[in-house]
């Protein structure tokens, strides 16, 4: 595949630090100071206990595939045909949260439970947290 296309995020007060973190190639997750839950996506209160006492922690970037799909049709008109096919996946991060993302690189060996690692890809001026299959990640 050539150039990667992406619709870039519209930052909010909840997400500015997350996307800035991506630009430093850091995957930042929200952590609740009250109940210690780590959650994704960032928002202004903890989805587990409701606390607004929140900090940021950096994810190791490692995770396993919860689900994936190979998209074979463009949902964005003709310009997007260059992206086909591509993989959208849900990753269970080592820190716990589930995250929706896109796979880059090799797809052979992709399966539920496969090991993946974050791989930042730049589109225009924004680095995006895509994932890459880890070598020999096949699951027993």
């Amino acid at each position: 595949m050539g150039e990667i296309l992406a619709i870039l995020p519209q930052r909010t007060d909840d997400s500015r630090e997350f996307w800035d973190g991506c630009n430093q190639r850091r995957l930042l997750l929200r952590r609740c100071d009250s109940c210690e839950s780590v959650f994704y996506y960032p928002r202004s209160s903890c989805p587990v206990c409701g606390s607004q006492r929140l900090s940021w922690v950096e994810s190791s970037g490692s995770g396993t595939v919860f689900a994936f799909t190979r998209v074979e049709v463009s949902f964005y008109g003709n310009q997007w045909e260059s992206q086909l096919p591509y993989i959208v996946l849900l990753v269970d991060l080592a820190e716990g949260p589930r995250m929706l993302s896109r796979l880059v690189g090799e797809t052979e060996g992709l399966c539920t439970g496969a090991n993946v690692h974050v791989d930042f890809v730049v589109v225009e001026n924004q680095w995006l947290p895509f994932f890459r299959l880890q070598p020999n990640s096949g699951v027993a």
Partner: protein
């Protein structure tokens, strides 16, 4: 036996033609469906003092209950526009109409949805453009996730991998539903579909092919509710609503839970418990079939099959007309039309009145309707009973 209400019943149903209705705006389509339902009940438009609807998804519009009310020349004592999610919206309209009538806010209420998405949807866009609808765009779009097929494809892949379900299982849902649609004059799909042809459908997003996806439709459906006393005075053939339950677990695919944590299981358990019945008591099922995978997951979650066994159930013929639990005899969202599930609700009533003609389930007394909006984000179940 437990019911949402012993006093309020469904007294009329209305349904427009489906497919493409060029020249008609959503308000006109909804008006047609309401007039049809009012006629069916033996009522006049002026008898309506309650009106509940949903504004069109493709052209979202504010205050759409008042728009429709003005168009019809009504001056209702109770109006509401309700957006919960696929088929659960219609169930919630019915539930709230019952509450409003029981509480004395109104006596006779119409619940309606209809739009012209097949006619007005811009060419080249496949699937509803959900920007403003699911709200997860900041966490979906940068990763190429758009519309509804990709989220459902993720659920389908996970379900199939976890339980060993197969393409044959998905295909059996599509083929069974198409057979039913051929018995319905008011269905978009007119040609038979066998498994070989199902496989020729273009892959959209693995594992979902073209015929795993529901239709895009113009059309409308409506139901009228009033007191049982009034229904008896009218001499109408009416239907009871025994129970309804819903569960909201998440919104977009970004927050998708494990398959066994989807809300359908709890919604069904609550609904069956409230009605004092179980899956074994059901005669006909109207299951929200935005995608074939929806039917498989719903059959498991409602207890018609053990987890992972719904594919075998469908392949056995149990969900076809003549089987133990016929599913979507009208052809469903997959092969009749996708009117937000309103036609699942009208079909349940038709079946319980014994008026479904060549697709009638013999002696149908109890019907279960399921709905799910978003990607199983909000799940609902309603049980109806013949009078």
């Amino acid at each position: 036996m437990a019911r949402i209400s012993d006093e309020v019943v469904i007294v009329g149903i209305g349904e427009t033609r489906v497919g493409k209705l060029p020249g008609l705006q959503p308000v006109q389509i909804q008006a047609m469906a309401v007039r049809d339902a009012v006629d069916d009940a033996g009522l006049m438009l002026k008898d309506l003092d309650g009106l509940l609807n949903l504004d069109p998804y493709v052209t979202p519009s504010s205050m759409f209950a008042t728009t429709l009310s003005e168009y019809l020349g009504l001056k209702p004592r109770f109006v509401s526009t309700i957006d919960v999610g696929g088929t659960v919206t219609g169930m919630t309209m019915i539930q709230q109409a019952i509450w409003a009538i029981e509480s004395g806010y109104c006596e006779t209420a119409a619940c309606v949805y209809g739009e012209n998405s097949a006619t007005v949807r811009p060419p080249g866009v496949q699937g509803l453009h959900m920007h403003n609808l699911l709200g997860g765009e900041e966490w979906e779009e940068p990763f190429g996730c758009q519309g509804m097929v990709i989220p459902y494809a993720l659920v389908a892949q996970r379900y199939m991998d976890q339980y060993g379900a197969t393409t044959e299982d998905l295909g059996a849902v599509a083929v069974t539903t198409r057979k039913h649609a051929l018995l319905n004059d008011n269905a978009q799909m007119k040609k038979p579909l066998d498994y070989e042809e199902y496989l020729t459908g273009r892959m959209i997003s693995t594992p979902l092919r073209l015929y795993d996806c529901s239709l895009v439709s113009d059309g409308g459906g409506a139901l009228v509710l009033t007191t049982e006393r009034r229904a008896q005075q009218l001499g109408a053939r009416y239907v009871y609503v025994r129970s309804m339950a819903m569960r909201c677990t998440h919104n977009s695919a970004v927050a998708l839970p494990d398959v066994e944590e989807l809300g359908m299981r709890d919604a069904a358990a609550d609904c069956f418990a409230a009605a004092g019945v179980g899956p074994e008591d059901m005669d006909v099922l109207l299951l929200h079939d935005a995608f074939t995978i929806s039917v498989l997951i719903t059959l498991d979650a409602m207890g018609f099959s053990a987890p992972g066994e719904s594919g075998a159930l469908v392949r056995s013929g149990a969900t076809a007309l003549g089987g133990r639990w016929p599913v979507n005899p009208h052809g469903g969202l997959l092969s009749q039309a996708h009117i937000g599930g309103m036609l699942h609700l009208t079909e349940a009533v038709r079946q319980l009145r014994g008026e479904a003609g060549s697709r009638q389930v013999p002696d149908a007394r109890l019907a279960a309707v399921s709905g799910n909006g978003g990607v199983f984000s909000v799940c609902g179940v309603m049980i109806m009973e013949a009078s």
